[in-house]
């Protein structure tokens, strides 16, 4: 009971501080009043701290099973393991919004600490914008969806967590995705602040890039973990269903991928300024749009969401953000401009421009597929699209992006490439041709596979060429007395580039995994008596029998299948307490080349059992590729000091007269 009041009080205090910070920071920023900018920033820290306090109170209430709180009652019960009780924090609408506000407050505070170097105006506006966004969430939390609502009667036990969510994945996937979503707000705030303050030079790019990179890395991790979870828990043999909930997580990731590449053009050549602002802003708008879609239930999704009162609030917030961004970009694009000189089509920046346009094209494809039910519903009968739409519309675009990944890094900056520099393209080209030949000899007839996999081979060849250049440069370093330290520094200075190529290699591995499991997945539905065998794609499984096991809160039907030396035990659990809900436990035998994925459908009175058996080639490459991407990004950027803002400014000044 007391925890409910404490938490609600903390939220209210945070809201007051957030509102105060918003008003003061904008005013002080435009007045260029150093003291007041500082006060506004500290008010934001205070708001963030009170949000964290509210979070701590909710966590305490969950762990102490305080069922006087409706939220605790609805999402946990006494039998839930402690780790999952803690996961209940972000397991519901209200708690996940609070988690979001906490991430925004903490990451926002961190980003503001380092913002003083951007100038008073930019720092003030950034703090103001961040405070506005935080306050919006606090208003929703305090008024519409409070996790601290009290029940008039305290029940003896809670309702518990759905068994589908009682999984280790629940502990890592949702918090990472939500944190990724929340962190896209920070680049948005700094980009908009630079525009608002009329200071669209490159200083903001250096500052924003780090936070865009954090958001992008969190989102990459979240997406891969989500695929992993769906694959291991849901038992349909796949990992990506083009559901609206997945789409809205993918779109800001695509937009930020575009930004991370085009920001390099601005850093190196001082171009694409307005475009970069647009990308950062677009990523955040897609996040707000996605939150609205996911939380309001306007689009039919496999995930149903409580149609709650927060829908209209997020819709209003979305319109506000769109209006603000459009006006801002229109009013200030003249100020930002300056960089829009023509770019030589066959050059590094030309490749970046095309890659950016294509990524935005993919965003458009995904967005249209997501909102089609809404749009068609307005003009008649609702229509929906399935996976084949996304494959046919986005597939060709993704193929061209792969080709650019292979060719782009080998093109020179600045001028149109002449023949000598194009000679480097022969290596990836030859690799691709060899890959085509190998695939044809192996009897592959599918055109998409014949295009995608050779392009991936070309990407790998390009990355290895870059590493060969690095090692050639390393060998040419002059030897001197303190050579090793100097050589280390030489390497560290270049790590961003080589970390990025590692990420490219990771993506290549991931694409091979997706391609192989997409083109060559095999499945078979089969009913077997004990002792009978089934063969799928050359893998023979023998069903040896099944048994019923009774556990504390559920019973399990476990079937045993022998596969070589291994035994696979797919199971079917039934939770009597939850209306007899079933939960499939998939059995997966993973090798580097293929996953044998067995789902138990049920058993017959005569002792036979029904299975669906999948053979999914190279699925483990997807998880490995995701890990390599993150490793490359971390290696290339961890511990990066405040990026050389001055150096960037000088470079830009040199390349853009005036």
């Amino acid at each position: 009971m007391i925890l409910g009041y404490l938490g609600a009080g903390a939220l209210l205090a945070a809201l007051v501080m957030g509102g105060f910070s918003a008003v003061l920071s904008f005013w002080a920023g435009f007045q260029e009043n150093a003291v007041m900018v500082q006060v506004g920033r500290r008010a934001f820290y205070a708001a963030a701290a009170m949000t964290v306090v509210a979070g701590a109170v909710l966590m305490w209430a969950l762990l102490s099973h305080d069922f006087s709180l409706a939220y605790v009652t609805e999402h946990t019960d006494l039998s839930t393991p402690t780790a999952l009780v803690a996961a209940g924090f972000y397991g519901g609408q209200e708690g996940s919004l609070l988690y979001w506000a906490i991430v925004l407050g903490v990451l926002g505070s961190v980003s503001l600490v380092a913002s003083a170097s951007l100038g008073l105006k930019v720092a003030g506006c950034a703090a103001g914008l961040m405070a506005v966004i935080l306050s919006f969430f606090l208003v929703v939390l305090a008024l519409v969806a409070s996790p601290f609502d009290l029940l008039s009667l305290t029940p003896p036990d809670g309702l518990g967590l759905n068994p589908v969510l009682r999984d280790g994945g629940m502990l890592i996937h949702p918090p990472v995705v939500l944190a990724g979503f929340a962190s896209f707000a920070i680049p948005f705030c700094f980009a908009s602040a630079a525009l608002l303050a009329g200071r669209p030079d490159s200083a903001w790019i250096a500052h924003t890039r780090r936070f865009a990179l954090i958001a992008w890395s969190l989102q990459t991790t979240g997406l891969v973990l989500g695929m992993w979870w769906a694959y291991h828990v849901l038992g349909w043999g796949g990992y990506w269903g083009w559901d609206p909930v997945e789409n809205v997580a993918l779109m800001p990731w695509l937009a930020t991928t575009a930004y991370l590449h085009s920001s390099m053009v601005q850093e190196t050549r001082g171009r694409l300024r307005t475009w970069n602002f647009g990308l950062v802003i677009l990523a955040f708008l897609l996040v707000v749009f996605g939150t609205f879609i996911v939380r309001s239930g306007v689009v039919p999704s496999v995930h149903t969401f409580a149609i709650s009162a927060i829908g209209p609030w997020f819709l209003a917030f979305l319109f506000l953000c769109i209006a603000f961004s459009v006006v801002l970009l229109a009013a200030r694009s003249g100020v930002a401009g300056g960089g829009e000189h023509p770019v030589a089509p066959v050059s590094r920046e030309g490749a970046f421009v095309l890659q950016n346009l294509l990524l935005i094209g993919v965003v458009a494809v995904v967005l249209w597929g997501t909102i089609l039910p809404l749009v068609s519903g307005m003009f008649g009968q609702q229509r929906v699209v399935g996976a084949s739409y996304y494959e046919r519309a986005a597939g060709p675009l993704l193929l061209v992006i792969l080709a650019l990944m292979a060719a782009g890094p080998l093109l020179p900056w600045r001028r149109a490439a002449r023949l000598p520099s194009l000679r480097a393209l022969a290596w990836p080209g030859a690799t691709a041709l060899i890959a085509v030949a190998v695939l044809l000899v192996a009897g592959v007839g599918s055109i998409p596979a014949l295009l995608a996999l050779p392009l991936v081979a070309a990407v790998v060849a390009t990355c290895f060429m870059q590493y060969a250049r690095l090692s050639a440069g390393w060998k040419k370093l002059p030897s001197m007395t303190n050579a090793s330290a100097w050589r280390m520094r030489w390497l560290v200075r270049r790590r961003r580039r080589y970390g990025a190529y590692l990420a490219h290699l990771g993506l290549a591995v991931l694409v091979v995994g997706i391609g192989a499991s997409h083109f060559w997945q095999q499945e078979k539905d089969v009913t077997l008596a004990p002792g009978q065998q089934v063969t799928v794609a050359g893998n023979t499984l023998t069903y040896t029998g099944s048994e019923q096991r009774q556990l504390a809160d559920h019973s399990e039907l476990v079937a045993s299948m022998r596969f070589g030396d291994a035994t696979l035990e797919p199971a079917l659990a039934t939770y009597a307490g939850l209306g007899g809900q079933a939960l499939t436990h998939v059995a997966i035998n993973t090798t580097p080349w293929a996953d044998i994925y067995v789902v138990l459908a049920g058993s017959n009175p005569d002792g036979s059992a029904a299975f669906r058996v999948f053979v999914n080639p190279l699925v483990s490459w997807i998880w490995a590729g995701g890990a390599i991407i993150i490793f490359g990004v971390v290696l290339g950027n961890l511990g990066e000091r405040a990026p050389a803002v001055e150096a960037v400014r000088r470079r830009v000044a040199a390349s853009v007269p005036g």
Binding site: E340, V353, V365
Partner: protein, 125 residues
């Protein structure tokens, strides 16, 4: 500026064409049972409705027949494959497939509305 717009327009045209051709071929109607009953649609559709109590499983659970109902309209559904975990009478499912001439809806896929982490039933006293 001119040289900028040309590649942008070309890419935009390609994306537009891809979206148009892909969605024309694969967009399906999303209906409730009563809407399907009131006007016949050629081709595959997705039909949302509530599973009734007459679920009949055979073939070890790989084949199932049941009645899907919304409001007053109902239709028999026939489906082969693994069932979603939360499939049971009373939940809402989306069946994807087509209505046969026998009056039975032959489902290719069966999606259950996931009891997502955002929608536990509110506690009522």
């Amino acid at each position: 500026m001119i040289r900028w717009s040309i590649p942008a327009l070309v890419v935009a045209a390609c994306v537009g064409y891809l979206i148009y051709s892909a969605s024309g071929g694969s967009a399906e109607y999303y209906l409730t049972v009563s809407q399907l009953r009131s006007h016949a649609v050629a081709g595959d559709v997705r039909v949302a409705g509530v599973v009734q109590g007459d679920v009949q499983k055979s073939d070890g659970g790989l084949h199932v027949t049941f009645t899907e109902k919304d409001g007053t309209a109902s239709m028999p559904v026939d489906y082969s494959g693994t069932l979603p975990d939360i499939f049971r009478p009373g939940i809402t499912v989306v069946a994807e497939g087509r209505l046969g001439s026998d009056g039975v809806f032959h489902a290719r896929t069966l999606l259950a509305k996931c009891p997502s982490r955002f929608s536990t039933t509110p506690y009522t006293q």
